[in-house]
């Protein structure tokens, strides 16, 4: 629309910077936290990691199209919760999104806590010379629980600070983190396998007190644990089978997207799309560069073996502490190429900001969805109250923090094998995304007038709206992931649990977790609906469209 015909009025802002949008999407699919962490757990697959990264990114591009399109049609509306309730009606939208954006995030807390210790605390304490503390933090049980509590403390601090301050912290973290990552990549591409092996032995002994012969012992422990994942190659089927784990890392370029402002035309749609798509492409390329660097200097096989040795112990398949008693953080392995302790400290500090710039948003979406539900009278008014003095949503925070402490305890102490539900953290959100993908598919037909008057009305593929086409592909991809997760052992390991992903219907913990969260969401919805009815509020009616004529 020509600016000539737009008058000055409240909210008529200009377009935001695509680069800024890129940064936040880039942080959401965080190579150093989510990436390093999930790659390392994927030590037993048959599909190559590089083709898996590329193929997953191709599918996730359609996710980006779906979300950019929904934002274009219904901007500033609050995301999945509003899209789903508008298109499906109240119950389904509420149950899917409250579970995906709220309850599932409880489970992310100990996972964030695990990353805090592996990526930040253990390596930094190690290079600072605090060996015993570093190794304690890497241990099972209480160390992980403490790190989960520290994570909750940090996230609560971010909520108190507010997004204005944290958005700035994120931007600075991006530059600092990129500097750290650049140094790591330079180290990986300028080192040699011999230098790495020697540096690994020397620095591990100095920092963590490991025994001579660590390299060989680690390789043996990893091989015994079943290390097998190749860098490249593998049949298409084997590559596809890596994706249900890999998406733990890269299914999230849309994480902050619902905040993007008014979309006034096709250009703004493209800006939304570009911010997310370039982040996905950028992270994928960086991931490939990282893998090549690892293969060049650390050695791909050794990298996978070291990971296998660690996770085999960490997941409780053996009580034998691996020869390297901490997670083989690839950034830490890279800095072992130098003996300069100051450089090691600086690089590990720079790499740690990836966690601090990313973890603060753990409960951001949850807080929003709790508020939205309270405003819809599906939760008590008190949960959306702000503290008069600080403006902090104390009650909403408690609804996140208290259950998260309980879930963290189950996870940290692996009560009843609870640690096996790790991937349910991705599964719960993927189920919600699946609902959104279906909403996107039917939007042009169910909300025809809304779609026709939107900036994407003319975007079609063979006469079919692009949002529908993208929704079918993204929804199909999610359906594949869900089938693999739910029926994993019967599809992949001759019916023998835990299968490849550990969260199938054969995993009682996973089934209970899912049923409990969806059951809780349904109970809240129908309970409050009935209660409001007795108060004279018909929640179906307040969500229903008023007749126009």
């Amino acid at each position: 629309m020509s600016n000539l015909f737009v008058r000055k009025a409240t909210g008529m802002v200009r377009s935001w910077s695509v680069f800024d949008a890129f940064i936040y999407a880039f942080f959401s699919i965080n190579l150093v936290t989510l990436g390093f962490y999930s790659f390392s757990q994927m030590y037993y697959f048959g599909g190559g990691m590089i083709p898996a990264l590329i193929i997953s990114a191709v599918f996730i591009i359609f996710e980006v199209i779906v979300y950019a399109s929904l934002i274009a049609v219904m901007p500033r509306s609050g995301g999945d919760y509003v899209w789903q309730t508008r298109i499906f009606g109240g119950a389904l939208g509420f149950i899917l999104s409250i579970t995906g954006w709220w309850f599932t995030l409880w489970l992310w807390t100990p996972i964030y806590g695990d990353m805090l210790r592996q990526i930040v605390l253990t390596p930094i304490l190690g290079v600072l010379g605090l060996k015993d503390l570093a190794i304690w933090f890497a241990g099972r049980g209480t160390a992980l629980f403490v790190c989960s509590l520290l994570t909750l403390g940090f996230v609560s601090l971010v909520i108190m600070l507010g997004m204005k301050a944290y958005a700035r912290i994120q931007k600075y973290s991006f530059y600092a983190g990129m500097l750290g990552l650049l140094i790591v990549i330079i180290l990986l591409f300028t080192g040699s396998p011999e230098a790495f092996r020697a540096g690994f032995e020397r620095n591990s002994a100095a920092i963590f007190g490991t025994q001579p012969g660590l390299y060989d012992a680690t390789a043996t422990a990893g091989t015994d644990a079943g290390a097998s994942t190749p860098l490249t190659g593998g049949s298409l089927q084997l590559i596809l089978l890596t994706l249900p784990w890999l998406v733990f890392f890269n299914l999230w370029p849309n994480w902050g997207a619902t905040l993007y402002g008014e979309v006034r035309g096709a250009t703004d749609y493209k800006r939304n799309f570009s911010g997310m798509a370039w982040a996905l492409i950028g992270v994928t390329v960086l991931g490939i560069i990282f893998f090549l660097g690892v293969a060049r200097t650390i050695g791909w096989d050794f990298y996978v073996q070291a990971n296998a040795a660690w996770w085999n112990y960490s997941w409780g398949y053996t009580d034998q502490v691996p020869p390297l008693p901490v997670w083989p953080n690839p950034a830490m392995l890279a800095v072992f190429l130098t003996d300069n302790r100051l450089i090691q400290i600086i690089v590990m500090l720079l790499m740690s900001v990836w966690w601090f710039g990313w973890a603060g948003t753990l409960f951001l979406s949850s807080t929003r969805v709790v508020f939205a539900a309270a405003f819809d009278r599906l939760l008590p008014e008190k949960v959306a109250e702000l503290d008069e003095r600080t403006g902090t949503p104390v009650n909403a925070m408690l609804l996140m923090v208290i259950p998260a402490i309980f879930v963290s305890m189950l996870y940290a102490y692996n009560i009843g094998g609870f640690i096996s539900v790790t991937l349910a953290a991705t599964q719960g959100i993927a189920i919600m995304y699946f609902g959104t993908a279906i909403a996107a598919i039917i939007l042009p037909y169910k909300k025809k007038e809304l779609f026709e008057a939107s900036p994407i009305a003319q975007m079609k593929v063979a006469g079919i709206p692009l949002i529908t086409v993208a929704g079918v592909i993204f929804g199909g991809f999610l359906a594949f992931l869900l089938v693999e997760w739910f029926f994993d052992p019967w599809l992949n390991t001759d019916g023998v649990p835990p299968g490849l992903y550990g969260i199938s219907l054969a995993n009682t913990n996973s089934v209970i977790f899912l049923l409990a969260t969806y059951g809780l969401a349904a109970a809240i919805y129908y309970g409050f609906k009935a209660r409001r009815k007795t108060e004279g509020i018909d929640l179906d009616k307040v969500q229903a469209e008023i007749p126009v004529e």
Partner: protein
């Protein structure tokens, strides 16, 4: 006791205005209150190409209209977003490019034309009912809008007034806001706003049982969170950085007088409710571009809010 329906910031959307007029019957409300900013933000030229052909650019998408049916559909589409269709020619478009000051006249003509149509529709639709409709234009609404609203038989202009809602409750109303980066029609400094509010409040019989229908939300209420902008009006940090932009004067008078209810708008993405002391403050938000009427139903009781809920109609 009174059951009121409040909606705001419908910015020229025909669909939303129609829904607003129907909301009383739909929600069984006694009173309809429209907050400020009833006028649209953009004119969309329909450029005549000869015969029944027009070229229209809507949301940066070009449409070629070739018959009456397409013409009507496109007009409806443009109006549904709150924009104003303007029939023109390539020659006039060139002239307007040369003389942008004329565009203001076109805006005024189109805006006022639609407000007149809305008032006519309200008079027609609500005749024979006892529905009360109150309206106070907002900071984005030109001054000329007031006269047209005043001419309506069924819609009452309540800007700056104390309006009795029932035997226990009165309402003050104002569409004026604190300063914005857009230098809009009805904005002023906080101290002037304070004077404006206090002048109305002083006429209330019982401020604690009153409704403050004030377009701008109170500062730092959570109802006033808007993307931080740079000097070029670009959202900084991709819209991730939100900041409070509400009125400090309003927050102060609410804190001091503790009315029963605050009804606000202005910040479309600020949908929500909050309490300042005992006062329930509501911003139902706005999704006018999508033809969705966001609103709130509030049941006023003696010395208390009986019940309330946000609506998505």
């Amino acid at each position: 006791m009174t059951k009121l329906f409040f909606a705001t910031d419908i910015h020229g959307s025909d669909i939303c205005w129609n829904k607003f007029l129907n909301a009383g019957k739909f929600y069984e409300a006694d009173v309809l209150i429209l907050g400020g900013d009833m006028t649209g933000k953009a004119v969309v030229p329909f450029i005549h190409q000869g015969g029944k052909n027009y070229r229209v650019t809507l949301l940066e998408q070009e449409f070629d209209i070739t018959n009456d049916d397409e013409f009507l559909q496109m007009k409806k589409k443009v109006r549904s977003r709150g924009y104003y269709p303007y029939l023109t020619t390539p020659d006039e478009m060139s002239e307007l490019e040369q003389d942008p000051s004329r565009v203001h006249q076109i805006f005024l003509q189109e805006v006022l034309g639609v407000v007149q149509q809305w008032m006519d529709l309200a008079d027609k639709k609500l005749d024979g009912t006892d529905m009360k409709v109150y309206c106070s234009p907002g900071n984005d609404d030109m001054d000329e809008v007031d006269e047209i609203v005043r001419s309506s038989r069924r819609v009452l202009l309540v800007e700056g007034q104390v309006t009795p809602l029932d035997e226990h409750h009165e309402m003050i109303a104002s569409g004026w806001s604190n300063r914005t980066p857009w230098d809009t029609h009805r904005e002023e400094d906080e101290d002037q706003l304070q004077v404006r509010y206090e002048a109305m409040i002083s006429k209330l019989k019982d401020p604690r049982n009153a409704v403050f229908n004030i377009h701008v939300p109170p500062y730092k209420s959570g109802l006033d969170e808007a993307p931080e902008l740079d000097k070029d009006l670009r959202p900084v940090l991709a819209g991730q950085s939100l900041q409070p932009v509400g009125s400090t004067a309003l927050r102060e008078v609410i804190r001091k007088h503790q009315p029963l209810l605050g009804l606000h708008g202005h910040i479309h993405e600020g949908r929500g409710t909050t309490r300042i002391g005992k006062t329930l403050c509501i911003n139902p938000g706005s999704m006018y571009e999508q033809g969705t009427l966001l609103g709130t139903i509030v049941k006023l009781g003696k010395n208390k809010i009986e019940n309330y809920v946000l609506t998505t109609g």
